[in-house]
């Protein structure tokens, strides 16, 4: 794991789970797989706290465990999974667009809690939805269950591996840690539950639990001691399926930008048809015949078969090669080249970065070198039609930032510099890796800056929160305008402006984080699929 990734993981864990979990998590990421005692010894934390931290991490699928020989259990952290925490808002928003509020809340609960049983999810979501509804209306469990089943059918949620039900063949002591297994077929199988009930509105008296001693608290949570029917069957969000969806979205919007709306709809239809049949890491989708595509087009689109054929031919002939023709039967068999599409998207990202960082002339040189694969400095000046001095300067700038690399071709065995060809080249894989590393650094910087800004203005933020609380309580008990005015004036005008600036800055930093994460997704997908191919 690179230093930048470790730093980013550390910031994310600290923000979401606190310092203790962060310490344990980062230690595991740095040192690989270790057992409980070694972790406690190396980090200097008490065994108890290490246990708690590991519980939290395992619950959220950030750490996995394995029983090694001699009965030692070792824990290993998944660095890439920690980095996914950046993408939670995008997952939740996507579910909202596909399955509306109910689906959104289901995925939110699953992401916040790591693993949950179906009945727990349904109950929580129903309660939350009931809160937002008007007085007197409640959310029925059945509706939430239906949405859950739909999510499972489209593979957006999946079952967690569970303890295998062993027949009592080995009478020996149970292993120190269970080895969890999951059957491929069962991964999306929803248990037959009859969840009957309605969401409960949380009574306002629960809010005033501040003064009660701690001993009384557990009584509130253990209201219903009924046995949970699906105990042991836990569900988690299937991040790979979301990634597949994002990738499809990116391809469709790329086609829409390059050509027009209709062609993007055609590509979307093709991708939708291959959702279940093609695995997410396949280089291209299953071949689809033109007739099938015609039948599966969305209902609103009435384009004739001929027009569809023309569009398909255009798409297949496009130099970007998103769509390829693999045969002629059934009116023409077409595939979508997923890997090529991802490579094009990554290349486009690189070009755009070069353009925004160094200018459009540099971008022209970059595209030229991409096209020619290997090119000498003299030829760059000629082909790009840029004066020699400037071209040289730009080439060196890009070289120093590692967007390009030099390939030496010696003419003589002694590699004398005067008798060697130096060719400029762009390897997309290494440039993508470099850019990805930079993205991790940027997000770490953004998070640090946001935390710094918040800390600087902590006193002011607390004051404004207190004032808001006072105003809210006064409004609830019915106060006159004059009194409310007085309370509001507790925050002076310059302070108000400071708060405004702070809010604007924090919003900007947050939005930047989300958008850098989009680039990270593209680059990571590209790198992953290229590595798989090799």
């Amino acid at each position: 794991m690179t230093q930048a990734e470790i730093k980013l993981c550390s910031l994310l864990l600290q923000e979401h789970f606190g310092e203790i979990v962060e310490k344990i998590g980062v230690h595991l990421i740095r040192t690989g797989s270790q057992s409980l005692r070694v972790i406690a010894h190396d980090t200097g934390t008490s065994l108890d706290q290490v246990k708690k931290a590991l519980c939290v991490l395992v619950q959220h699928n950030l750490v996995s465990y394995q029983v090694h020989k001699r009965g030692v259990v070792e824990y290993e952290a998944q660095c890439s999974r920690v980095l996914r925490m950046l993408r939670y808002p995008r997952y939740i928003y996507t579910t909202k667009t596909l399955y509306s509020d109910t689906g959104e809340l289901i995925v939110e609960e699953l992401l916040l809690n790591g693993k949950l049983t179906m009945s727990a999810v349904v109950k929580k979501v129903a309660d939350r939805l009931t809160e937002t509804m008007e007085d007197g209306k409640t959310m029925d469990y059945a509706e939430v269950s239906n949405t859950f089943v739909r999510l499972a059918d489209t593979h957006f949620v999946q079952r967690c591996p569970s303890v295998p039900t062993t027949e009592n063949s080995d009478p020996g002591p149970p292993p120190p840690a269970p080895t969890l297994v999951i059957n491929e077929k069962d991964m999306y199988l929803v248990p037959k539950l009859s969840l009957i009930g309605k969401g409960k509105r949380r009574r306002s008296s629960d809010e005033d639990a501040a003064g009660e001693p701690k001993a009384k608290r557990p009584k509130y949570t253990t209201d219903n001691k009924e046995p949970i029917p699906d105990d042991g069957i836990y569900w988690q969000a299937n991040l790979d399926r979301f990634h597949q969806h994002f990738r499809d979205q990116a391809i469709v919007s790329a086609v829409a930008n390059r050509m027009d709306q209709t062609s993007s709809e055609i590509v979307r239809t093709m991708l939708r048809m291959s959702e279940i049949t093609t695995s997410s890491s396949a280089p291209f989708t299953q071949p689809l015949s033109s007739n099938e595509i015609f039948r599966s087009l969305p209902v609103g689109y009435n384009i004739s078969k001929q027009v569809l054929d023309q569009y398909l031919t255009l798409l297949a002939d496009d130099p970007l090669e998103f769509v390829g023709k693999s045969g002629d039967s059934g009116g023409g068999m077409y595939v979508i080249n997923l890997h090529k599409a991802l490579a094009s998207l990554a290349t486009a990202t690189l070009e755009s970065v070069v353009q925004e960082r160094f200018g459009s002339r540099c971008a022209r040189i970059f595209r030229l070198v991409l096209q020619k694969k290997h090119i000498e400095q003299k030829q760059v000046e000629d082909f790009a039609m840029i004066p020699a001095k400037e071209a040289k300067d730009m080439l060196y700038k890009m070289l120093s930032e590692n967007f390009m690399s030099l390939q030496e071709i010696p003419k003589t065995p002694d590699h004398a510099p005067s008798r060697t060809f130096y060719l400029y080249t762009v390897t997309i894989l290494s440039a993508a890796r470099m850019l990805l590393h930079r993205c991790y650094k940027s997000i770490a910087n953004l998070i640090e800056r946001r935390q710094f800004e918040t800390k600087e203005n902590k006193r002011l933020l607390e004051k404004s929160q207190r004032v808001e609380a006072i105003i809210a309580s006064m409004q609830a008990t019915g106060a006159e305008e004059a009194q409310l005015q007085e309370i509001e004036e507790m925050i002076t005008a310059p302070e108000r402006q400071q708060l405004e600036t702070l809010k604007r800055n924090v919003n900007k930093l947050d939005a930047s984080e989300i958008q850098v994460d989009e680039t990270i997704f593209l680059l990571e997908s590209y790198i992953e699929c290229t590595m798989k191919r090799q």
Partner: protein, 206 residues
């Protein structure tokens, strides 16, 4: 010797034309320090994307951040003891549910991976009951405190089911201990208060 073109003038070992400098041209300055930490950018960054989706995701992100802090998974660092206990602290405490992971008994997984530093709760409880029955408060004062300490530790771990019962038992233990303390240490029938200390005064104190 013969190779020097002019005294003291360096000759390049390679063809300077290839790098792009013409002969005799002024070379750029030598760089003497690392590049600045925040270099000036010639081009300003592109503005952020705005739209309904982006705004919704922004609001979601900020909400999630706040929600995560309140969840039981957020483990707070234990604060150091402050010199003066503030009265208001009692009323500003944030209450969180104690989260105990479900599933097969976590005890087994933990026991294998660690040593036996934590005593089993059941054993401790049994021992305490035995000692109560014996009514022997003296020698087991220290033992009691030790066991209480370890009981507290194991209570905080996820093995114990009934926190309330343990709390009550502890409370009883404390009460009983105090009574035992009083009765057994100082005043035995008939003794003077200062009798013991007088005895020890025979020896010289240093």
């Amino acid at each position: 010797m013969a190779g020097n073109k002019g005294r003291g003038r360096a000759a390049y070992t390679f063809n300077i034309e290839a790098v792009g400098f013409s002969k005799g041209e002024k070379l750029p300055d030598v760089v003497l320090k690392p590049p600045p930490l925040f270099p000036d950018t010639d081009y300003k960054p592109v503005p952020l994307k705005t739209g309904e989706g982006e705004e919704y995701m922004l609001a979601l992100k900020q909400e999630l951040r706040e929600t995560m802090k309140r969840m039981p998974y957020f483990i707070e660092t234990p604060e150091e003891r402050q010199d003066i206990e503030r009265y208001s602290k009692r009323y500003m405490k944030v209450y969180k549910e104690e989260w105990i992971p479900a599933g097969p008994k976590p005890k087994k997984a933990k026991d294998a991976g660690k040593g036996t530093s934590l005593t089993n709760t059941a054993d401790v409880l049994k021992k305490m009951e035995e000692l109560e029955k014996r009514g022997d408060g003296e020698k087991s004062d220290e033992e009691n405190e030790e066991k209480e300490g370890s009981k507290e530790k194991s209570k905080e771990g996820d093995d114990d089911d009934d926190d309330d019962a343990a709390e009550q038992e502890e409370y009883d233990e404390e009460e009983q201990e105090e009574e035992n303390d009083y009765i057994n240490s100082y005043f035995e029938d008939g003794d003077d208060f200062g009798a013991d200390s007088d005895d020890n005064m025979d020896e010289a104190t240093y």
